[in-house]
């Protein structure tokens, strides 16, 4: 059997405004509310609302045979309530219908695991509480921000025993020539590791509308055949797990409606169901369907799903990012020490990995992706404004 596991990454950060040197000590409003609202509302119209409706139709039509999962961040939920509450209603409807698994992660989509492990666990707990409050769900699957994973992540996550499965990038850096379709066990035997199939995921997320791609145009029929073909090499009847993990904004935002992305998703289940060896699953279904003993996998260094390096370089490859993140977590510690709880929420919003991603100075193809997602002209500007904000925050902590 091949299990198709769709996971949608649903996230919006609180972007910073152009906070000048002279605002330090005078302005506690760090965020570009107008920009954040504009981006959220645009994405709602183009992606969240129509795509949720499409998925809801599938859920109702296939009565439990169609399954999807979401990783929704806390900052996304906050912005939905602020800017477009209908989006929350529609996610809640999907949750009520029982068609979706909701996955645990850090509330703020942060890289706290690298600088502050205590904060990391706190943010994961905050996120679980949010899922329970909003959707009535306690997550059993964990995925770290940007699929950052190493042995240490599994060790840390054992503190929250509900988590049985961790999602990570199926990169050759850790799998070597082995297929990402077979799950593994973490080095400590605590978790099942489920791998994102980056080639098929990116066929949808990045290459779908690329006319220079030899496979263009990608049809649901063609994709379903590719999925079916995956089983050809499996001779011992082991179940295969195909994790298709993409940004939710792929549908309607990165790939515009005009590219036919919605039509593709509309037709895909029908083509997949034509093959009786293919069915949909949630990540946590792995626990019940697993019919072999997974091999252990040790990941001593962090991997992620970003850029061609699949490492931390999108957020931590240059000194600007490093100084910003290091300084941020030092200041966050001070917020806690001085028990400035009124500053906590604002402070934590600054942990979102996006803010450091905007400071990335990389060129070639990846640089283009960074630029597409960044609200700033230059990575230097992202750094300058971020550091002004940190300076203000630091000042406020020291005030009595």
């Amino acid at each position: 059997m091949i299990y198709v596991i769709f996971c949608f990454h649903v996230h919006q950060p609180f972007r910073l405004k152009h906070y000048t040197l002279f605002e330090i000590g005078k302005n506690l409003n760090y965020f570009d509310d107008e920009l954040n609202e504009r981006i959220f509302r645009r994405a709602s119209e183009k992606c969240y609302l129509p795509m949720n409706e499409l998925l809801l139709n599938h859920l109702r039509r296939f009565e439990g045979a169609f399954k999807i999962s979401f990783s929704i961040t806390g900052t996304f939920v906050e912005q939905a309530y602020l800017y477009r509450p209908e989006v929350m209603d529609s996610f809640k409807t999907i949750a009520r219908e029982g068609g979706a698994e909701f996955i645990g992660e850090t509330y703020y989509h942060s890289l706290s695991c690298i600088f502050d492990e205590e904060e990391f666990i706190q943010q994961v707990r905050l996120h679980s509480e949010m899922l329970e409050r909003e959707f009535g769900i306690r997550p059993r699957t964990f995925r770290n921000t940007e699929l950052v994973y190493s042995n240490r992540i599994s060790d840390l996550i054992t503190e929250i025993p509900e988590f049985r499965i961790i999602l990570l990038e199926g990169t050759e850096r850790i799998l070597k020539e082995n297929s990402p379709l077979y799950v593994r066990r973490s080095h400590n035997y605590e978790h099942i590791l489920l791998f994102r199939h980056y080639r098929l995921s990116d066929d949808i997320a990045f290459r779908f509308s690329d006319e220079r791609w030899p496979e263009y145009p990608l049809t649901a029929e063609k994709f379903a055949k590719w999925v079916a073909d995956l089983s050809l090499s499996e001779r011992e009847g082991r179940n295969l797990y195909l994790l298709l993990y993409v940004d939710y904004e792929t549908f309607g935002e990165h790939q515009w409606k005009e590219t036919g992305i919605f039509e593709f998703m509309k037709k895909l289940p029908d083509f997949l169901f034509k093959n009786k060896h293919i069915s949909f699953a949630w990540p946590s279904d792995v626990l019940e369907t697993l019919n072999y003993e997974p091999e252990v996998l040790s990941v001593p260094f962090p991997v992620s799903w970003a850029d061609t390096e699949r490492d931390l370089s999108a957020w931590l490859s240059n000194p600007l990012q490093w100084n910003a993140m290091k300084t941020y977590f030092e200041i966050l510690k001070k917020v806690k020490e001085k028990r400035k709880m009124e500053l906590m929420e604002t402070a934590r919003k600054l942990s979102s990995s996006d803010l450091y991603y905007y400071m990335c100075i990389k060129y070639f193809a990846d640089g283009d992706v960074h630029k597409y997602f960044s609200p700033y002209e230059r990575p230097e500007d992202a750094y300058i404004y971020f550091m002004h904000v940190l300076t203000d925050l630091e000042k406020r902590i020291e005030e009595e």
């Binding site: 040197l21 002279f22 030092e330 230097e380 550091m387 002004h388 940190l390």
Partner: protein, 420 residues
């Protein structure tokens, strides 16, 4: 007396000291009853007849925030000048022949100049302006031509030949200063020609005077030194941004201004005390390099960059500053130091800067002497009373250096030439 004045920068269109200095000069000359027709690189074919002091503030150039005119050019550093003087001597002779004698027709000279001015955003702009300025000048009456820096020399030279009026060229900086050594060959050529053809050369410092004598073989008897002053619009209140003493760098982040020395100083000071903040303001081709280096030292929020600042914001930054550091590798004058002092900041300036020649209170240090500058800053931080006293004295000194006194020297240059 009426002066035809040519400058590339004037408020509100300003990128650096040149515009500030021209503004001060123009205002003070007007006050002394000198009439000025001002030619600026504007899109329209216009000139600005300035008759009263207030006229200097009424220029209708809409350029809020100021444009970074110089940022657009990527200068090729040409090696041919490195073996000065022998390699350059022949070249200079060749150039001298091209401009030196009355036998060369004005058309030929203009042609030669325009040929130099091509290929490159800034060069094309200068070319266009040169042609416009010459056309306008044909319709104007004046007693003397005053051209500021190389951008205005081509127009100045041709207008001198056409009008038969004396030409004063004003050296605020040379290409040697900007490039930190030999720079763009075409700019060197224009500077050389402009200085050779000028009847008088005004330098902003003795240092600059020596430099053009040595490097462009200018006849020293043509040179007059007139130091800059600073025009204080209004004394502003000191306002703090940080409770710690604040040390600032303001200027283009380029080799000439020594930003790399400034960050090293900051690092040294921060090894000794955390009771300090550093702010670096400006843009330039070394910005990313400098920023990355500072960040790699993990100085946290102790060292901040401001991003681009408008004129008003620069003034605001000075008013929050306790110490201004100007470790320029080359600084013909350094008017920013006077501006900073007028706002009560203590200046630490490069020994070889023009401003060091006429001031008493700034610390004067070799631009490369990081240890010394760090030591001075630490000493000031540890002695708040000393800092307060020096701040007051700096403010007084800056306001005592008035353009009114300096332009007297300019006027005598003019008179000397007119009566000749």
């Amino acid at each position: 007396m009426k002066v035809l004045m040519l400058t590339w920068e004037f408020p509100p269109k300003i990128t650096g000291g040149l515009g500030l200095a021209c503004y001060g000069i123009v205002k003070a000359l007007l006050k002394k009853g000198i009439e000025i027709d001002l030619l600026l690189p504007v899109k329209e074919e216009v000139y600005f007849p300035l008759r009263k002091e207030e006229d200097a503030d009424l220029l209708p150039i809409a350029s809020p925030g100021g444009e970074m005119v110089h940022e657009g050019i990527k200068r090729k550093v040409i090696k041919w000048l490195e073996e000065v003087p022998s390699a350059y001597k022949n070249r200079r002779l060749e150039l001298k022949e091209r401009i030196g004698s009355e036998r060369i027709s004005i058309d030929k000279m203009l042609n030669d100049l325009l040929q130099i001015l091509h290929d490159g955003m800034l060069f094309d702009d200068v070319r266009e302006w040169t042609i416009d300025a010459i056309e306008i000048a044909k319709h104007l009456e004046f007693d003397i031509i005053h051209a500021h820096d190389w951008l205005a020399y081509p127009a100045g030279m041709i207008i001198k030949r056409l009008s038969q009026k004396p030409l004063v060229t004003h050296v605020h900086a040379t290409e040697f200063d900007r490039a930190g050594g030999p720079g763009e060959r075409r700019i060197h050529d224009i500077e050389y020609m402009g200085l050779q053809l000028a009847d008088r050369i005004v330098c902003v410092s003795h240092h600059t005077a020596r430099e053009i004598t040595e490097k462009y073989l200018v006849d020293p008897s043509k040179i007059r030194v007139v130091h800059n002053a600073f025009l204080i619009e209004r004394i502003k209140e000191k306002r703090r941004l940080f409770k710690e003493p604040t040390v600032v760098f303001v200027g283009r982040i380029t080799l000439q201004k020594g930003p790399d020395y400034f960050i090293e100083i900051a690092r040294k000071v921060l090894e000794k005390t955390k009771n300090v903040r550093f702010v670096m303001a400006g843009r330039g081709d070394m910005e990313r390099m400098v920023m990355e280096r500072v960040a790699s030292w993990g100085l946290g929020t102790k060292f901040l960059f401001s991003g681009f600042l408008s004129r008003e914001e620069v003034a605001k930054l000075f008013s929050t500053a306790d110490i201004f550091v100007m470790p320029s590798v080359s600084e013909p004058f350094g008017i920013a130091a006077l501006e900073a002092m007028s706002m009560g900041a203590i200046a630490i300036v490069a020994k070889n800067s023009g401003v060091a020649e006429i001031t008493k209170y700034p610390y004067k240090v070799d631009f490369w002497d990081i240890d010394k500058m760090a030591e001075i800053i630490i000493d000031l931080i540890n002695n708040p009373e000393k800092m307060e006293e020096l701040s007051k004295k700096s403010m007084e000194e800056a306001s005592s250096l008035k353009w009114e006194n300096q332009v007297e020297k300019l006027i005598s240059v003019y008179s000397e030439l007119i009566s000749r």
